[in-house]
Amino acid sequence: MDAYLTPPIIYGITGLALFAIGLTGLIGRNHPLHKIMAANIMAGGVFLFLVTVGYGDGEVIDPVPHAMVLTGIVVSVSCTGLGLALSRRIMENATSHKNRDDSGEEAR
């Protein structure tokens, strides 16, 4: 049991658990903000798992997963920015439609 409690295994399991939680949140929550946060959590879990693969045992670290995760973090923040801009427009359109339906006139 002791051989299983090394840092890579602990964080690998954590990454997989984060992936599962993020996927459930992505499907289960309705609001776009929650969905984007769930997608970010999924990405974080995948990154944890990737770096776990490249842990190595002694002094030699595998730097290729580090580079992949760095690229992934920047790509994920740009996707978050674009997704938030899109969701802001969606929410604005939803409220304007709602106001138009309720009161019969154009929303402000």
Binding site: P7, L18, G22, M37, I41, G81, S87, E92
Partner: protein, 94 residues
Amino acid sequence: MILISFDLILAASLIWLAYRLLVSDNFFTSVVLFLSFGLFMAMAWVRLRAPDVAMAEAAIGAGLTGALFLSALRGVPGGKQRERRVDGDEIRHD
């Protein structure tokens, strides 16, 4: 032994933070929990011997994504929190 327990506590905190932020109804709470989730992830990167990733995650993943979310909360009803003082001692958030 100490480091292993640190790892276990950090891993449990990550999972608990992720669960809480997806279940919470208040958007401001979710964003603040997401910020701390990013900072805990930065500590996990340090433990996994990836200091470059730790710096990038703390700056971009936690800081900038948190700022983006906070800026997006302005368009959500219930996202903007204003606090006001009631009766001199108690602070109420609307």
